[in-house]
Amino acid sequence: MASAPAPAPADPPPQSASAVRIRALSKSFPRGRQRVTALDQLSLDIAAGGITGLVGPDGAGKTTLLRLIAGLLVAESGSITVLGHDVPQAIEEIRTGIGYMPQRFGLYEDLTVAENLRLFGDLHGLDPAQFAKRQAELMHFTGLADFTARLAGNLSGGMKQKLGLACALLPHPRLLLLDEPSVGVDPISRRELWQLVRDLAGAGTTVIWSTAYLDEAEKCDDVVVLQDGRLLASGKPSRLIEEAATKAFLVPVAPQQRRQRQRALLAAPGIRDATLLGSHLRLVFSDGQPVTADNIVAELAAGRPTPPRLEDAVVTLLRRQVPADGRLLNTTGAGNIGAVAPTAGKKPAASEAVIAVDHLTKRFGSFTAVDDVSFAVKRGEVFGLLGPNGAGKSTTFRILCGLLPASSGSATVAGIDLGRARADARQRIGYMAQRFSLYGDLTCRENLRFMAGSYGLDRRRFVRRLDWAVAAFDLGEILDAVCNTLSLGHKQRLSLAAATLHEPDLLFLDEPTSGVDPLARRDFWLRIGLFVESGMTILVTSHFMDEAENCDRIAIVNRGKLLALDTPGQLRAGCATAALPEPSLDDAFVAIVRRSEPPAEQRS
């Protein structure tokens, strides 16, 4: 890796220690007749130099804050000082001092790499000699030197991201704003980008990196945690973890019982969090509060301590905010799903393969999206299809949903060959799309009635299933609310209700919890756990590795090929090295992908 280009020497060092100073900042947007608050009386300081992680779920106000700092939005009240200048007044001075990379990188896809750079070089008024030097520097820095003549639209996600970064870096910014740079990028490229940004920060540039993922934020020098437009916490990750005063343990658990055990432990006093981690449960409890319940003490004795994480601290803070136990499933809908389980009573043998994919290949023209993939999913299993965008997950998914025909090979769902009777197969499948795909201007009840109608439920069955959905997903209060006004968490629950209303045997989930806060994610997976215990089979795609820990088995796909298929625990264990004794799934993914391809190919 090349050394980071230093900021222009002519720039005077910032006057104050904070690069960005925000006081009582508020911003709201019109939505219909109402106004939605994006930022609410936010005050914070971002230290000069280093990487500050701006973290929070979708809708927390991350993008709004970055746009306000860049002068792209006008604040309603409060003040922003960037690099010693007040934002709306001295916007011209600020604009020359910041580099901004919006979501989706903001590149001109029909211009080449060199043309994109030249455009932004000219806009920033770099003189030709200066520009040539800077371009060479940045191309070397980002490893794009061999691709300057390629259209930006033909670059891979990771390369687009690097080009976006290079364009933002052209004018030697002292402040670099990156809006969710890791979205849609494979783990390897994400690591390379992180290293680039790390080098920049080391050379004195202040970086604000926004992300929905707490594991990414934990690596930053400082973090700012936003929730609903307010500051939940800020400071060094280590300090936040320390302040939360949590202890974490890994306890082994039998694979068949892990979900039951997880629910029982979540209900136990003193336990702050319990998450699945392969063949272990990761338990979090507060440092000062002794755990007295006998069964848990015994359980802990069998486990081993593990370092607490930023996510533990955020979960602690979030659970402190909500009314006691109000958001987690353990006290609300736990019994309900089980009591009215969709497939209760018709539980066939567990060994039966519900999904059988045999040498499946899908070609679009000369491009092979799915290349000879085979796997089988047993009843009651949570099966994960993991890989970066463009790996072939969605194509496989669409074939299994009967939305695309296969080029060769076969796919069978619930014993029905998708090549022959797609409509029959669809009746057995529930599908929850990544983005909210119900009608935003209908109420929850109207949406559910429509879904019931489209799956052919008669009136009596609909009334029965609606009662079930209201009880199981806690929809009572929002049943007659128009969907557009709902929070992301509510929308997600409604989507899951809509997907399971017709009592499917199989549930397909496409990136089910991307962008939601950690509590809503736990709530979601607990509900899924209950479905699984009632005999439902789950197929989930994700590029988010942490989510994959909730799966029983994972298929790792990259460039249409199936690279590995195993339990999360085994996949991680298979990649453990002396340097990295306890690799994360993300580490495992990187190792598996690197192993599968010659190093020369990795960049293209």
Partner: protein, 378 residues
């Protein structure tokens, strides 16, 4: 140094626009394929002439004189005559919409005609569903009949037919009364309204959709530079679209051109600027291509077609609609183009209309410049 307009940045933006135009087919599609398609469709479809209209001729008895009357209906290029022998057969054909009208020559009339050539009662029945065509068909039938009387009178050197007043028609500017000659210049104006506004509206909406507008706004480029780069690049495209339309009108539709091309270029330039600025204005409201296209159609194409005086005579509209036509820039462009094509460089018409077009261009540009703020609000 001027902060709002630096040549360096403007050139960089312009270069980008042209590279995009060359690489992305959508601009080419709007600028060249759309005007050709619209002109062909409307130019052929929107003819107000009635030619070869199916028309029944009912002759109850055959004599040499009635045969010559029948021939008169056959010979006219405006009507396609079909013989019937009874009223009811012709009426049935009319009801089946096979003919637009028919004339009945009664046996009694035929007997009278055999004796002397005097005006006789005829029955002309016309399908009145389409009032416009009905009047035209009626006029043709009466005309054919009148012409036949004239010819019969002269060939038989009969003087007992009172000639009455002889009308000698002369139509100015469009002597053949070809509606194409008058519609096509107007159509060019309507098509250019749509093309101009659509070019800028769609291209800016695309930048919003792809998120590149956000990067531009975060860069030091000023709003004036961004707007100018869009206006100038699309101006070149728009003028080329105009040239294509004019060539099509001259070569394919055989519309005469009596003015000078220089004046045509000047007037078109003024109009195009106002259309492009309107498109930019639309793009400040609509940030995705679908809404932008819809808004452009509603705000440019429809008023231009209805209120520009192309299809409907402005003077015969209700007063409040007449007032409304004044804010349709296409109205003035239609007037200019029709004058340039059919009459020539008539300063008395071109100058005031061009002045109004200039005002439109300035006002739309200023409004748009005010509306376009360099942030993502709005």
């Amino acid at each position: 140094m001027n902060r709002l307009l630096r040549p360096r940045r403007l050139f960089a933006l312009l270069r980008k626009e042209f590279v995009q135009i060359l690489r992305d087919p959508s601009a080419i599609l709007i600028a060249f394929v759309m005007p050709v398609a619209l002109l062909l469709l409307n130019g052929y479809g929107l003819s107000l002439d009635a030619k070869n209209v199916d028309f029944g001729v009912v002759i109850e008895a055959q004599t040499p004189r009635t045969m010559s009357l029948y021939r008169a209906f056959v010979d006219t290029p405006y009507l396609a005559a079909r013989p019937y022998y009874t009223d009811s057969a012709a009426e049935a054909a009319l009801l089946r919409r096979e003919i637009k009208g028919y004339i009945v020559v009664r046996a009694e009339t035929i007997r009278n005609l055999a004796n002397e050539l005097k005006p006789q009662p005829y029955l002309i029945v016309v399908d009145g569903v389409d009032a416009n065509t009905a009047r035209i068909v009626e006029g043709y039938a009466v005309g054919v009949l009148g012409g036949w009387y004239q010819r019969e009178a002269t060939s038989n050197s009969l003087s007992n037919l009172a000639p009455g007043v002889q009308l000698e028609h002369r139509y100015w500017f469009n002597p053949e009364l070809r509606s194409t000659s008058f519609i096509v210049p107007g159509l060019i104006a309507v098509v250019m309204t749509l093309v101009g506004a659509l070019l800028t509206a769609m291209i800016v909406a695309r930048e919003w959709e792809r998120g590149t507008m956000e990067t531009l706004m975060a860069s030091p480029a000023s709003i004036l530079e961004i707007m100018l780069s869009k206006l100038l690049s699309n101006f070149v495209l728009g003028m080329m679209a105009m040239a294509v339309s004019v060539i099509l009108g001259l070569l394919l539709f055989q519309v005469p051109f009596r003015g000078s091309f220089l004046v045509l270029a000047l007037v078109s330039a003024l109009f195009l600027i106002s259309a492009l600025a309107l498109g930019l204005f639309i793009s400040t409201i609509a940030r995705n291509q679908f809404v932008a296209a819809q808004l452009t159609f509603i705000t440019t194409y429809m008023p231009a077609l209805m209120l520009s005086g192309l299809l409907f005579d402005i003077a015969s509209m209700p007063h409040w609609v007449q007032d409304l036509t004044h804010i349709v820039a296409a109205r003035y462009f239609v007037a200019c183009l029709q004058t340039l094509f059919l009459a020539g460089d008539v300063g008395a018409i071109l100058l005031p209309n061009a002045l109004i077009l200039f005002c439109f261009a300035v006002v739309f540009s200023l409004i748009t410049l005010r509306r376009m703020t360099r942030n993502l609000e709005g």
